[in-house]
C-alpha cells in the first residue's frame, strides 16, 4: 500500500501552485472565498487563462488539445485549485461533452466542436433531466422526429444548470418508442438560438436562478448534429455520466470549506472566547475533519486504482455519498458558526462591487445561501438513494 506521491507528482504540484500564485486573479479568488456570485465573464476569464497554459482540459488527451493528465495529476490539480480558491471549471463542455465527442463523435464534429470548447466560443449546457423524471434518466419524453435533413424537437428539459449563459445544449431525445425505454434515445447537439427554444429560470431556495427549464417547440436541428448512431444515445449518456463522476468525492471543495470554517471559528466569539474553544462545537468540527481525512484516503485509493487501470465501479458511488454528506456537514457547521448573522438574506451583498455591503462580518454572508444551495449535492448526479441502491446491488449483490 503506497499512497505517497512520487517526486514527479510533487514537482507537478509545485508547478500548479506556482502557476496559481502567478496567474489566478485575486479578484476571482476573493469572490470564491467570500462565496460571491461568479458572472459568465469570470468563468470565461479563468478558462482562457487555463487554456493558454494548456491546462483547461486536464482529462482530454493531448491530441485533442487536452493536458492528458492521469487521475493522480487531475487530483493534484483539483486539490491545488480548490485550495487556492480558483473558480471551478464549468464542466458541461469540458468534462461532459468533450469525452463523448472524442469517443463517439464524427471526425467533423470533433474538429469543429472541440476547439470551440477550449477557446470559449461555445458555452454548453446539459439537456438530460426532464420534469418528473428525477434520477430515472432513461424516462426521456422529449421527441425528435426526422424531417428530411433535420430533426424536429419538441418537449422540455429541466435542471439545466447555468443554461442562461449557454449558446449550445446537448440533449437526450427520444427518436423511437419501440423496445425498452433506453433503446430509443438519441444524443443531439442543439443551438440555443434556434427558433422555438425558450429558457425559463428556476429560482432555487438560496434565491439564485442557477438552473433553468428549457422548452422546445418544433425546433429544427440539422441531422449533422446527431452524435453517433440514432437510438444509441443511452450508451453515450452512460459514458458521459461515468466521466462526470471523476472527482465525485469533492475532496478539494471539502478541504477549502473546512479551512474557511476553521478560520471563522477563530474569529467568532462565544461567551467571551473564540468559538473554536467551545468543546462541543470543536468536537463537531473534529468529527467532520476526521471523516474527511479518511474519505480523502479512500479517494486516493480509488484514484490510484484508476491509474493502475481499474475502472472505478460502485466505489464512486461510495465516494459520492460520503463526499456529499461531508460537504453538506461542513456547510451546516459554517452556517452554525456565523450565529445570528446566518439570518440576513441579502442577495445584492453577494454581488461583488455593489454598494450593499454584507450585514455583519463578510465571511458570514454566503453561509446560508451555500448551505441551502448544497442540499442539491445529495440530489443531483444520481441521488444518494440511487447510489446506495447501486452499492447494494453491485457490491453486496443484493
Amino acid at each position: 500500500m503506497d499512497l505517497n506521491f512520487t517526486d514527479e507528482q510533487k514537482a507537478f504540484r509545485a508547478e500548479v501552485r506556482g502557476f496559481l500564485a502567478e496567474k489566478l486573479p485575486q479578484r476571482l479568488s476573493d469572490k470564491v472565498r467570500l462565496g460571491q456570485r461568479l458572472e459568465k465573464a469570470d468563468y470565461e476569464e479563468w478558462h482562457a487563462i487555463l487554456n493558454e497554459k494548456g491546462w483547461l482540459a486536464g482529462n482530454w488527451p493531448e491530441e485533442h488539445g487536452g493536458a492528458g493528465w492521469n487521475a493522480v495529476e487531475r487530483h493534484i490539480f483539483e486539490e491545488e485549485t480548490t485550495s487556492a480558491a480558483a473558480p471551478r471549471i464549468v464542466p458541461f463542455g469540458l468534462a461532459m461533452l468533450g469525452p463523448v465527442l472524442q469517443k463517439f463523435g464524427s471526425k467533423e464534429q470533433q474538429d469543429y466542436w472541440l476547439p470551440r470548447i477550449l477557446n470559449g466560443d461555445d458555452w454548453w449546457c446539459q439537456g438530460y433531466s426532464e420534469p418528473g423524471a428525477g434520477s430515472d434518466l432513461a424516462s426521456v419524453k422529449t421527441t425528435a422526429e426526422r424531417d428530411g435533413d433535420h430533426y424536429v424537437v419538441n418537449g422540455q428539459k429541466t435542471w439545466t444548470t447555468l443554461g442562461q449563459y449557454a449558446n449550445m445544449i446537448f440533449c437526450l431525445v427520444r427518436t423511437s418508442k419501440e423496445g425498452k425505454p433506453q433503446e430509443g434515445i438519441s444524443f443531439l447537439l442543439i443551438d440555443m438560438d434556434d427558433p422555438g427554444i425558450t429558457v425559463r429560470p428556476i429560482v432555487l431556495i438560496d434565491g439564485e436562478p442557477e438552473v433553468n427549464e428549457v422548452f422546445f417547440d418544433n425546433v429544427r436541428v440539422p441531422v449533422t448534429n446527431l452524435v453517433g448512431e440514432e437510438n444509441k444515445g443511452w450508451t453515450y449518456a452512460k459514458y458521459l455520466l461515468t466521466h462526470e463522476r471523476t472527482n465525485i468525492a469533492g475532496v478539494g471543495f471539502a478541504n477549502a470549506g473546512l479551512a474557511n470554517l476553521k478560520r471563522i471559528v477563530k474569529l467568532e466569539q462565544s461567551e467571551g472566547r473564540p468559538l473554536i474553544e467551545d468543546p462541543l462545537f470543536a468536537a463537531r468540527i473534529a468529527e467532520v475533519e476526521i471523516a474527511l481525512m479518511a474519505m480523502a484516503t479512500t479517494n486516493l485509493r480509488v484514484v490510484s486504482a484508476a491509474v493502475a487501470g481499474q475502472a472505478p465501479g460502485a466505489e464512486s458511488s461510495m465516494l459520492k455519498v460520503k463526499g456529499t454528506v461531508i460537504r453538506q456537514e461542513i456547510n451546516a457547521l459554517t452556517k452554525a458558526a456565523v450565529g445570528p448573522y446566518a439570518m440576513p438574506f441579502v442577495s445584492e451583498a453577494l454581488e461583488a462591487g455593489t454598494n450593499a455591503g454584507p450585514v455583519g462580518p463578510a465571511y458570514a454572508m454566503a453561509a446560508t445561501p451555500q448551505y441551502l444551495n448544497n442540499r442539491k449535492l445529495s440530489i443531483y448526479g444520481g441521488s444518494n438513494e440511487v447510489q446506495k441502491t447501486i452499492i447494494a446491488k453491485a457490491i453486496l449483490e443484493l
Binding site: S270, M343, P344
Partner: protein, 365 residues
C-alpha cells in the same frame, strides 16, 4: 377554538399574493397583520392584568404553532418579546403600548443582541450613561427583527458593571425616529425583516427607562424563555407542514413505475421523521408547561427544548428536501419557504449545540 379559527383564517389568508406583498414590502403582509389583530390573536400572549386573555405557555404554543404551520411572518414574536418586557416592567404610561400592540396599532421590537454577543443574553457592552435629565448611549445592535418597522423598540444598555455581569443591564423604550439611531433594514432567510441599529450618542429622557436601572436581566431571561417556547412552537408548526407536503409528495410522485412512497427506504425515513416531530412536540409541551416554574427548572427546559427542536428542525428540513428531490430545491414550490424557516430556527435564541452545552452546565449547577 382560537386554534381552529386561526388555522382557518391563515389557511385562507396566506396566499401567494400575500406572500409577495410581504416580500416586496417590509417582510410581512399588512392585511394579515390586521386580520390577526381583529381576531385578537396577540391578546392570547398576555394575561388579563396585562390587557390580554391568556399568557400561559400553552396559549403561546397554540398561536405560534399555527403561525409556523402557515409559514407567515407577521412580527408576532416581537410583540411577545418586547411587549412581554414592557408588560413585566413598564409603568402605566408604558403599559399602554402593550394594549396598543394587542390592538395591532403599534409594532414592537427588542434590540438586545450585539454584534459579538452571539447567543449570550447576559453579554451587554453598549453603555448608557446618565447625564443631564436623561441618558446617552452609543453602540450597535445586531439582527433586530422588525427593528425598522417597529413603532417602539425596547433597547438594552449597560449602566454599570462589566461585559458579562448579570447586574447593570437597563432597558429603555425608544420611539421610532429617535435622533441618532442609524438603521439598516434587510430581509431574513426565514421571512420578515431585521435591522442593524447603530446608536450614535442617542439621548433618552428619564421616562424612557423601563423598570429599575440595572435590574433587567431577570425579565430579559423570562422574556427569552417565553420567546424560545414560541419559536419552537413555530418550528413545530413548520415541521407539520413540511411533513404534510412530503407525505403528499411521496404518495403522488411516481418514479421507476410506482409512487416513491412505496419504496421502503423512504417509508422508514418518513417514519423516523414523524417520530422525531412527535419528540419535538413533546419538547415544546415540556417547555410550555414549565414557563411558570422556578428559574432553574424553566431554564433547563429552555435548553432541553431548544436543543431538541433545533436538531429535529434540521432533520425535517433536510429530509423533506431530500425526499422531494429537485423540486424541493425550488423557490416556487411551497416547501422551500418552510425548509428555510426551519433552517433558521437554530440562529435565534441559541442553536442546538449551544443549548446542549448550556443544559449540561445547568444540570451540573
Amino acid at each position: 377554538m382560537l386554534q381552529d379559527g386561526l388555522r382557518r383564517y391563515l389557511g385562507d389568508a396566506v396566499t401567494p399574493a400575500a406572500l409577495k406583498a410581504a416580500e416586496e414590502g417590509e417582510g410581512f403582509s399588512p392585511e394579515i397583520w390586521s386580520g390577526l389583530s381583529e381576531m385578537g390573536v396577540a391578546g392570547a400572549l398576555f394575561t388579563e392584568e396585562q390587557g390580554g386573555f391568556g399568557g400561559a405557555g400553552f396559549d403561546l404554543m397554540t398561536v405560534f404553532e399555527e403561525l409556523g404551520r402557515a409559514g407567515t411572518s407577521e412580527p408576532m414574536l416581537e410583540v411577545l418579546l418586547a411587549g412581554g418586557l414592557i408588560a413585566a416592567l413598564g409603568d402605566e404610561t408604558q403599559a399602554a403600548l402593550v394594549e396598543q400592540a394587542v390592538e395591532g396599532s403599534v409594532q414592537l421590537a427588542l434590540a438586545h443582541g450585539e454584534p459579538g454577543s452571539r447567543y449570550d443574553i447576559e453579554r451587554v457592552e453598549t453603555r448608557a450613561e446618565r447625564g443631564g435629565d436623561g441618558w446617552t448611549s452609543r453602540g450597535a445592535r445586531r439582527v433586530v427583527v422588525n427593528g425598522a418597522q417597529a413603532d417602539h423598540v425596547v433597547i438594552s444598555a449597560r449602566s454599570s458593571g462589566g461585559a458579562r455581569d448579570r447586574d447593570g443591564i437597563s432597558l429603555f423604550v425608544l420611539p421610532k425616529g429617535t435622533a441618532g439611531v442609524e438603521i439598516r433594514d434587510y430581509p431574513l432567510a426565514q421571512g420578515g425583516h431585521a435591522a442593524e441599529l447603530v446608536l450614535e450618542g442617542v439621548t433618552l429622557p428619564e421616562t424612557a427607562l423601563l423598570g429599575a436601572e440595572g435590574q433587567a436581566i431577570g425579565a430579559l431571561e423570562t422574556a427569552h424563555a417565553r420567546a424560545t417556547a414560541a419559536l419552537c412552537a413555530d418550528g413545530l408548526g413548520a415541521m407539520e407542514t413540511a411533513r404534510r407536503l412530503t407525505g403528499d409528495y411521496l404518495k403522488t410522485r411516481k418514479q421507476f413505475g410506482q409512487p416513491i412512497g412505496k419504496f421502503q427506504a423512504l417509508q422508514h425515513r418518513a417514519a423516523e421523521m414523524l417520530i422525531e416531530i412527535e419528540q419535538a412536540r413533546s419538547a415544546v409541551i415540556n417547555l410550555c408547561g414549565h414557563l411558570e416554574a422556578d428559574r432553574e427548572t424553566r431554564e433547563i427546559h429552555v435548553s432541553a427544548t431548544k436543543h431538541l427542536v433545533g436538531k429535529v428542525a434540521r432533520l425535517v428540513a433536510e429530509e423533506a428536501i431530500q425526499m422531494h428531490g429537485g423540486i424541493g430545491m425550488t423557490e416556487e414550490y411551497e416547501l422551500g419557504r418552510f425548509a428555510r424557516r426551519l433552517s433558521m430556527l437554530d440562529h435565534r435564541f441559541g442553536d442546538s449545540t449551544f443549548h446542549l452545552g448550556r443544559f449540561v452546565r445547568l444540570r451540573a449547577a
